[in-house]
């Protein structure tokens, strides 16, 4: 992965679903704009070219694990080259919700060789800061199961046999995912945030760190 050579900043949020990442980033975007910075929030599967195909194929349940990894990498690459790099180049603060670390962890749990996945995503740009929204498993699971949209066949890891039904598979898959986040947090020097606390705490902490980054 190469360091960010552009005038803009790349800020990333990682952590289990239901840890409050998107809400925080939306609030931070507003705060940055009030301060006079151009900011944009991005997440995976926004690439017009590929996202629709992924969704259709998921419904058909015909994606093999490697195909699943590759089509997500293609989607990410399209977003990276057509949106993120131009935005960074124009001096934007890019807030990216779930960057390559989530993909790497999920692909690994889907049985891909770790070196293979790391090399696959080597074209990505290294973020300036990665915030890790640390949540206890039970709290995240509770929030995930309260969501209106149920996790699908792939999101719960059912396609690769993580459990006999969505509920069991989801718990098992998310447990493993949490382990991977913890490992990566150390390895890649994520900035941890205690996501079990009220959102105001996290916002204050993020603002503080971003102020240092933008003024420094």
């Amino acid at each position: 992965m190469k360091k960010n050579p552009y005038p803009g900043k790349l800020i990333v949020a990682e952590g289990l679903d239901g840890s409050g990442k998107s809400m925080c980033f939306n609030l931070i975007k507003n705060w940055l704009e009030v301060k006079g910075y151009a900011a944009e929030v991005y997440k995976r599967k926004q690439s017009a070219l590929v996202a629709q195909t992924i969704n259709e194929a998921k419904l058909d349940k015909t994606l093999g694990p490697i195909t699943y990894s590759l089509i997500h990498a293609a989607d990410f690459s399209d977003l990276m080259h057509r949106k993120i790099i131009p935005a960074l180049n124009a001096g934007y603060i890019v807030l990216f919700n779930k960057y390559i670390y989530t993909s790497i962890a999920k692909d690994y749990l889907r049985g891909q060789n770790k070196d293979w996945v790391l090399q696959l995503y080597d074209f990505a740009i290294e973020p300036d800061i990665v915030f890790y929204f640390k949540t206890p498993l039970e709290m995240a699971l509770e929030r995930m199961t309260q969501e209106e949209k149920e996790k699908d066949f792939y999101e719960s890891g059912m396609d690769i046999g993580f459990g006999p039904n969505n509920f069991v598979a989801l718990r098992h898959f998310q447990t493993k995912l949490l382990e991977q986040y913890e490992l990566m947090a150390k390895l890649y020097h994520f900035t941890p945030l205690d996501a079990s606390k009220p959102i105001q705490h996290q916002i204050a902490r993020i603002k503080h760190i971003l102020e240092d980054l933008l003024n420094g």
């Binding site: 349940k61 195909t67 293609a74 080259h81 049985g111 090399q119 098992h172």
Partner: protein, 243 residues
């Protein structure tokens, strides 16, 4: 779809044991069938030769499956759309082709090999290795990307000079934007650009002959003569597998 083996545990969850596919290209495949791949530039005559070999194999009683590069139902449409609009960057282009290949590998090639058929691949991963590198993707990155592919029993490389490749295409059509490598901006003239870009592709193919043990067939020879050479090389592979 290939489902992994799993072991049921007391609490009802399953321990997932998945095969590591990232070393596949280094070892012979474990399936009953035979995988024959043909490579070469457009206009090298490889599709014609493969078609003739297919007829012959079928007349000998073998079940065959033909699989063509960039043809999976899943992504070939996106690739075509992206090409048309001219909005694909090299990395995305490369990843979409890899996705297309992975989908065909899973849903066409491996199932046919398991059934003991002769799978005839009109272009295989070497097309991507040659083209993507000619398009300035990193050699190491592309080789890693395709390391999950099933290793062919034999790969045939139909070699023709780049000028002949262009002449043969021009008989029926004009090379399209990406075939000509116009995205590379090597020349403002389509034909000149084709010659330069496909020249780079040929250099990559040539460098893979030893690395992947290609069987080189001189694509400038007469069609029936090439076909005889091709069949003579296929016979021992078939005999080894089917006895």
């Amino acid at each position: 779809m290939l489902l992994p083996k799993r072991k049921r545990q007391k609490n009802g969850s399953a321990e997932v044991i998945l095969p590591d596919q990232s070393r596949n290209m280094e070892v012979p495949h474990p399936y009953k069938g035979v995988l024959v791949a043909v490579e070469g530039t457009d206009g090298s005559g490889k599709s014609t030769q493969l078609h003739l070999a297919k007829k012959w194999l079928e007349s000998e009683g073998y079940g065959t499956v033909l699989t063509i590069w960039n043809s999976s139902a899943l992504v070939s449409k996106i690739i075509k759309k992206g090409k048309k609009k001219g909005i694909l960057d090299n990395t995305t282009f490369s990843l979409l082709h890899a996705t297309d290949f992975a989908d065909r590998l899973n849903n066409v090639i491996i199932p046919a090999l398991k059934e003991g058929r002769v799978v005839l691949a009109d272009r295989y991963i070497f097309t991507a290795l040659a083209r993507d590198v000619a398009r300035a993707c990193e050699r190491k990155w592309v080789r890693n990307l395709y390391s999950f592919a099933v290793k062919p029993d034999r790969t045939f490389y139909f070699k023709v000079p780049v000028e002949m490749s262009l002449d043969r295409i021009l008989v029926t059509r004009t090379p399209n934007y990406y075939e000509a490598g116009m995205d590379m901006n090597l020349s403002s003239n389509l034909y000149e650009n084709y010659l330069k870009f496909q020249g780079l592709v040929i250099t990559e193919y040539d460098s893979m002959v030893e690395e992947f043990n290609f069987e080189v067939i001189d694509g400038t020879l007469a069609i029936p003569f090439q076909q005889k050479l091709f069949r003579d090389k296929i016979i021992p592979i078939i005999q080894r597998k089917f006895g």
